[in-house]
């Protein structure tokens, strides 16, 4: 044993005797993680969050969260001498007079966009594979919380520079707050510390943006990852993978090395974007002044769907008891998002009620094997896309020579018609894919090789699937629909009759499947040949 090894051994021993860490470390370092690209989406989110913390900290060194009026004297000449808020001026200062400042601002903003995009992609992975099922419902709910927070955090950050573009967004946010019946105008007054825009707003959202929400983020992300840790990660089905085991690589060294390397890749891609592509060039937009407004003002993409909803709402107001209720803002700005996010958070429970499935699941579904869920997901995505498109209606109009009114009507109708259409089409596609799987298992892969038999008949040679592949394609269960209990055995009407009927109907929709090949089918085929 060399002297160095002896010293290391002594140190390890010393630490272990006092903390008992050896046992914990052994368990931890050999923990196994399954390996699939879609499991790395969560990691992209995590790493972008770390990048956000680091680049954001850099920005706080120079950002001045104040609406105090100053005269700009920095080096960006086209704005020199103009009156603006200290927040805007200090953002210009970071952009043009701090070394690496513009790069950091751009990295921060690109990281935010990628953070939100990766979060949505991660959510879709979890949804379409059924990873939210028991026992992971809480983690799904935490996820919905993180998504909501992400949207709010992004919107506040986007508003901090106090430029004319983001100011337009705050104005809309104020209108949404004001649309809340009865308390709206008081609430808006409270949030802005007086009449819009007031003198406090930037200061307040700054505290929320850099302290409160990141703090909640850290707590929720920790809880999220601890749950992944203790519940163990799900895995895709395959030979040797069961509901009781996890097949993959040990945390140390394989997974850590990959994950550590991946962090730097995420950082690299974000920094690359920050270096080559301009984002939020606030100096072009000018400082915020309540009287000014620009055509084609858009929020960041993760708010775009909300903006699109507000834009497509027909003007509708009622006046009652001395209050005005602006339905055209209230419904798209608060009620619909509220329904969407509540429905999303409750979906694991809704699905388990619909299918009557209360068991634990650690093996993931292939999306085609859950046609109803996949179709529901496609429907929601379509809804979001239509609203997102309407959010950019003015740009689409100018860049593709369309009329804004045409796009408006397209989305007003499309938002009702296209999602159900997507549902039906996706479900059909899933069932076709199941049929293709069934063919594949029963008849093997078409090789495209034609053979002429002695008596002149042509046949195509089919190559049998490997047992592993055949297993993967057939391991899933196909539960039958629940039968509605209308009367019990004594002929007493089920008091929950209507509810049971609904459940049975939904369950029937859920269990619509192409029967997978059974052992009997396989035998028949075998004998046939």
């Amino acid at each position: 044993m060399s002297a160095r090894e002896r010293v290391a051994g002594n140190v390890a021993n010393y630490v272990d005797e006092r903390t008992g860490s050896a046992k914990w470390l052994k368990k931890t370092l050999t923990k196994v993680f399954p390996d699939h690209w879609s499991f790395m989406l969560g990691e992209i989110v995590l790493y972008s969050f770390i990048i956000l913390l680091l680049s954001g900290t850099f920005l706080t060194f120079w950002f001045d969260p104040s609406m105090r009026e100053v005269e700009y004297e920095g080096s960006y000449e086209p704005l020199s001498g103009l009156k603006m808020s200290a927040a805007y001026a200090s953002t210009l200062h970071i952009s043009f007079d701090v070394r690496g400042g513009l790069l950091m601002r751009q990295i921060h903003h690109w990281a935010a966009l990628i953070f939100m995009a990766a979060m949505v992609a991660h959510l879709m992975r979890v949804f379409f594979t059924g990873a939210f099922r028991k026992p992971r419902e809480f983690n799904w709910i935490i996820g919905v919380g993180l998504l909501t927070l992400g949207i709010v955090e992004g919107f506040l950050g986007y508003s901090l520079p106090d430029d004319l573009l983001s100011g337009t967004g705050i104005r809309i946010a104020e209108a949404i707050i004001q649309a809340i019946p009865v308390v709206g105008s008081y609430l808006a007054y409270f949030v802005f510390g007086g009449a819009f825009p007031g003198e406090m707003f930037i200061q307040r959202i700054y505290t929320v943006h850099i302290l409160l929400i990141p703090g909640i983020f850290l707590a929720l992300i920790t809880a999220h990852l601890m749950l992944v840790w203790y519940q163990k990660h799900t895995q895709y089905p395959g030979p040797g993978r069961t509901e009781k085991n996890v097949v993959g690589y040990p945390l140390m060294p394989v997974y850590m090395a990959k994950a550590g390397g991946f962090f730097f890749i995420v950082f690299g891609v974000t920094a690359f974007l920050g270096a080559v592509a301009s984002i939020n060039p606030i100096w072009i937009y000018g400082p915020y002044t309540p009287g000014q407004i620009g055509a084609g003002s858009q929020p960041d993409w993760y708010m775009g769907w909300l903006d699109g909803l507000v834009r497509m709402a027909p003007p509708l107001e009622t006046h009652a008891f001395g209050y005005t209720i602006s339905w055209n803002i209230l419904v798209p700005g608060l009620i619909i998002p509220g329904i969407i996010f509540t429905g999303m958070a409750l979906y694991p429970f809704i699905e388990s009620w619909m299918t009557g499935d209360k068991r634990e699941h650690h093996l993931l579904d292939r999306p085609r094997n859950a046609p109803n869920r996949t179709a529901l997901g496609a429907m929601s995505i379509t809804f979001m896309l239509v609203t997102l498109i309407n959010g950019g209606n003015d740009l689409l109009a100018t860049h593709f020579d369309l009329s804004i009114n045409q796009i408006m009507w397209f989305s007003r109708i499309g938002v009702f018609v296209l999602p159900p259409l997507a549902f039906v089409i996706t479900k059909r596609i899933c069932l076709s894919l199941q049929r293709a799987d069934r063919e594949l298992v029963l008849h093997g892969r078409e090789t495209g090789r034609l053979v002429m038999l002695p008596h002149g008949e042509f046949i195509e040679v089919h190559e049998a699937l490997s047992p592993e592949r055949a297993y993967t394609l057939t391991q899933h269960e196909q539960p039958a629909a629940i039968a509605p209990v209308v009367e019990d055995e004594n002929g007493v009407r089920n008091p929950k009759g209507a509810k049971a009927k609904l459940q049975a109907r939904l369950s029937r929709a859920h269990s619509e499947q192409i029967a997978k090949p059974t052992a009997k089918d396989m035998l028949e085929i075998e004998n046939h040949h």
């Binding site: 974007l273 301009s278 984002i279 620009g294």
Partner: protein
């Protein structure tokens, strides 16, 4: 003569001669230019110009605007719109209108400079109206203030033309076009004539000096190097979001797929 021949071979002789030559040509050109401009003002020349304009008008414009520019069902009367309006409409290619679409679009001009001037002179002769701007009036490079121009633009123009001057949609398929790449003269004329859905900005609303500031800001924004990297069309968050999903997340997912494929 002795004097000249004495210095003929001096080493400064060549450059000096060149300078003198350049000065002479420059001067001569300016004088000639002024002379030709003056020539327009002599009444007989002016009359021929108007006559020429009337002829072009009869051929190219009267089918819509009427034989004497009095207007017809499909196109407005041009009596009193002035030379500025004609110059703007014809020199940016909007007139003659190609098809009766929502809005006359900018295209390759059909008439050259002289023909445009003739048309302008003809329409101006019908009734007084805003005259075309002259080069002296258009001294935006010498006077005006960029920062003030930006502020004026945001106050008066951005609600239609977008904060970055990239243009914006109006209702019913109409739109305010981008102001980038428009000649200073036409920016000025757009302001004083208010084409189509655009309001007229009279000198009482925006002084001539302020108009030059606006032009100065537009020209500055146009020539500003893309600070911070590719400008992505300067249309704001829409292209940024698109890029974050495609290049940003797309690249990362590609790498994730690559990292997790087993070496075969």
């Amino acid at each position: 003569m002795r004097f000249l021949s004495k210095y003929r071979r001096h080493r400064f002789a060549g450059p000096l001669l060149l300078l003198a030559g350049l000065l002479f040509v420059g001067f001569g050109y300016t004088v000639a230019q002024a002379a030709s401009e003056e020539a327009v003002l002599t009444s007989s020349d002016k009359a021929t110009l108007i006559a020429e304009g009337k002829e072009i008008f009869a051929r190219g414009c009267s089918s819509c605007h009427g034989l004497n520019a009095e207007g017809a069902g499909i196109a407005p009367s041009l009596i009193g719109v002035g030379a500025a309006s004609v110059d703007f409409q014809v020199a940016t290619g909007r007139m003659p209108m190609a098809d009766m679409s929502q809005q006359a679009m900018r295209k390759e001009p059909v008439y050259n400079e002289e023909e445009t001037a003739a048309l302008a002179a003809y329409v101006a002769s019908l009734a007084p109206g805003p005259a075309s701007v002259t080069n002296e009036e258009l001294a935006w490079e010498r006077s005006g203030d960029t920062a003030e121009g930006g502020e004026l633009f945001r106050n008066n123009c951005a609600m239609c033309h977008n904060l970055a001057g990239q243009g914006g949609a109006l209702t019913q398929g109409k739109y305010a076009p981008t102001v980038m790449g428009v000649e200073p003269k036409h920016i000025y004329e757009a302001m004083i004539t208010g084409p189509q859905a655009m309001p007229v900005f009279a000198d009482t609303t925006i002084t001539p000096e302020e108009k030059l500031s606006i032009i100065k800001w537009i020209k500055h924004a146009e020539n500003e190097p893309a600070l911070g990297g590719a400008a992505l069309g300067r249309v704001g968050p829409v292209t940024e979001g698109l890029l974050a999903w495609t290049l940003g997340l797309g690249l990362l997912i590609g790498i994730a797929v690559w990292l997790t494929t087993k070496a075969r």
